[in-house]
């Protein structure tokens, strides 16, 4: 073999070695990043935080939100912690968000990982309060309702539902969380007097379901496809077992079954 051939082969092998080194190193690096970013789904982010993936991409890990936070509840995750490294979070049980009206943490964020589109703190969605009804004192029938009283949006985010209790004269005052008003500030979790909080803040995606587009709740809004079922008392004076209302003489909801269109 000529010198030329040997040199060319050496060169190609060197190139392949370099590519293999870069490729394997790069894959390892990429793997570490993804592991770190998906470390834990339980992180409660400051108000205005983008969706978790976007937030992880945009946060520069500077901690200016933590410096700006008046009650100093924001912490920066160190290396080796359970949450993505260097990102801000808070723990509702020990330090809830006090919902400052001027939202200084969002103002301090230089990159927009905490979105400046959040103008009113009531629109923040840091998480959702979830009640463990088996261990909630109020649900058990005791007069507690501390979460309701401490809630900054009481009457909207947490409402009390009263129900006569089976065997006694007293009513049960049950706290109920409304997801369309709860900001996830965590003041209820901090205030909950049970040994382990019976009301807790969790990220929405861990607790909220979705019914899907194909369900039509005909009694809540006008819709083309309907069985025309309406709770009898609210429709009017018609009797509860009245025949379904018709449009053009035919029942609207079942019409398509007989039209031969399918």
């Amino acid at each position: 073999m000529s010198d030329q051939g040997v040199n060319r082969r050496d060169f190609l092998v060197k190139m392949a070695q370099g590519a293999a080194l870069a490729g394997s190193g790069g894959l390892l690096w990429d793997y570490i990043l993804r592991q770190e970013a998906h470390a834990s789904p339980y992180a409660l982010r400051p108000p205005g935080a983008l969706a978790e993936n976007d937030f992880n991409a945009a946060c520069i890990k500077c901690g200016q939100c933590a410096v700006a936070c008046p009650p100093f509840i924001l912490k920066i995750e160190p290396a080796g912690g359970a949450l993505p490294i260097g990102t801000p979070f808070f723990e509702a049980r020990t330090g809830p968000c006090i919902m400052c009206p001027d939202i200084p943490c969002v103002k301090a964020c230089p990159t927009g990982a905490l979105s400046p589109k959040l103008k009113k703190i009531e629109d923040a969605r840091m998480g959702l309060a979830v009640i463990d009804i088996e261990n909630c004192l109020s649900w058990k029938g005791l007069r507690c309702e501390i979460c309701h009283r401490d809630c900054p949006l009481k009457g909207k985010a947490i409402v009390l539902e009263t129900d006569p209790r089976g065997t006694s004269k007293h009513a049960v005052f049950r706290p109920i969380v409304n997801s369309d008003a709860c900001t996830g500030c965590g003041i209820c979790e901090k205030a909950c007097p049970t040994e382990i909080a019976a009301i807790r803040i969790l990220p929405h995606k861990l607790v909220q379901g979705k019914i899907g587009e194909h369900y039509r709740l005909g009694w809540t809004f006008d819709t083309q496809i309907t069985q025309d079922f309406k709770p009898a008392e609210k429709v009017g004076p018609a009797p509860a077992n009245a025949p379904p209302a018709t449009s053009g003489g035919k029942p609207a909801g079942v019409d398509y079954l007989n039209s031969g269109g399918l």
Partner: protein, 309 residues
């Protein structure tokens, strides 16, 4: 012994290598700068060092910060990575990155490495101990490796959608954990110390760190440089012994340019005070040519005087 060496010997006898505090002045200043910056961040967070009501002196850390509530500062490399993830950065972080870039374009790209970065304290300590213990090298890697690490950082950032270096940076870990609370980041610093001490000389700062590579890239264009006066240099090599990036003191290139040209020079000021002849001095680039011409003329006139004596 041949002639040039005896010449060096005699010149060294005339002008010994400076020692003592004065020769260490830049190292002392650099430590003051590095720890001072850290202290300002720490004090602003823990001790409420405020310049006015609710206006911290220096909020944040090295990734991004705000000085006296007015001047945003952003790590341009971190901003670049976040930009590559596809996130549209807010104006504030872009202005901050421009301010930081502007500063380093004047004072030298890798001034960050020698005067700001906390990891430099660790690697300098490792380098010093390595010299004292005379640790022998195990293997050799090209210092251009850092540019490949830099390229890999950007490629992986695009692929993963995460700022690749910011998530693993020991610089970020060190600063964050000193300012915001301890974690495992110190093990990263320990690893770098052992790596530099026992495995590869100047291993982290000189071979691997992509942030240093990033600043090296535009280091050539910066204003503050180390001027080289060839008329007084005796080629004694004391400068290259202390330099953490000795390839930047290539005599041929120094001769051609009249100053340290490579962007890998961090303006650390190790060489300038120890040069027995004072041939290496900080200077601003536009003035260097004039100063060198002046030195040449002076040297010629001295030579003429000697000849006429």
């Amino acid at each position: 012994m041949n002639a040039p060496e005896t010449q060096v010997q005699s010149r060294l006898a005339e002008h010994p290598v400076p020692t003592g505090l004065w020769a260490w002045r830049y190292i002392i200043l650099r430590r003051i700068s590095q720890f001072g910056i850290l202290l300002m961040f720490f004090g602003s967070f823990h001790w409420a060092w405020h310049v006015a009501k609710n206006v911290p002196l220096l909020a944040g850390n090295l990734s991004a910060s705000k000085f006296i509530g007015l001047i945003p500062l952003t790590d341009p490399f971190a901003a670049l990575q976040i930009f590559l993830t596809g996130h549209v950065l807010q104006k504030e972080s872009l202005i901050g990155a421009a301010i930081v870039m502007g500063f380093y374009l004047i004072f030298g790209g890798r001034v960050f490495c020698a005067w700001v970065c906390p990891v430099n304290v660790v690697t300098d300590a490792a380098g010093w101990l390595r010299n004292r213990l005379a640790v022998k090298p195990i293997f050799h890697i090209s210092r251009t490796l850092r540019y490949f690490v830099l390229a890999a950082t950007l490629v992986i950032t695009v692929i993963s959608g995460l700022a690749a270096f910011e998530w693993v940076s020991p610089i970020g870990m060190a600063h964050r954990e000193i300012i915001f609370g301890l974690g495992m980041g110190f093990t990263a610093l320990l690893a770098i110390f052992l790596f530099d001490l026992l495995i590869l000389k100047n291993g982290w700062c000189g071979h691997l760190c992509p942030l240093g590579a990033f600043y090296s890239l535009f280091g050539k264009t910066t204003l503050l440089r180390v001027r080289f006066d060839k008329t007084t240099c005796t080629h004694c090599g004391e400068c290259a012994k202390v330099c953490p990036e000795p390839q930047v003191l290539n005599l041929k290139k120094l001769d051609e340019r009249g100053y340290v040209f490579s962007g890998e020079c961090s303006n650390c000021g190790r060489c300038t005070p120890i040069c027995p002849e004072g041939s290496l001095k900080f200077d601003f680039k536009p003035l260097i040519r004039g100063h060198n011409a002046q030195a040449l003329a002076q040297a010629e006139s001295i030579a003429v005087q000697r000849r006429t004596k």
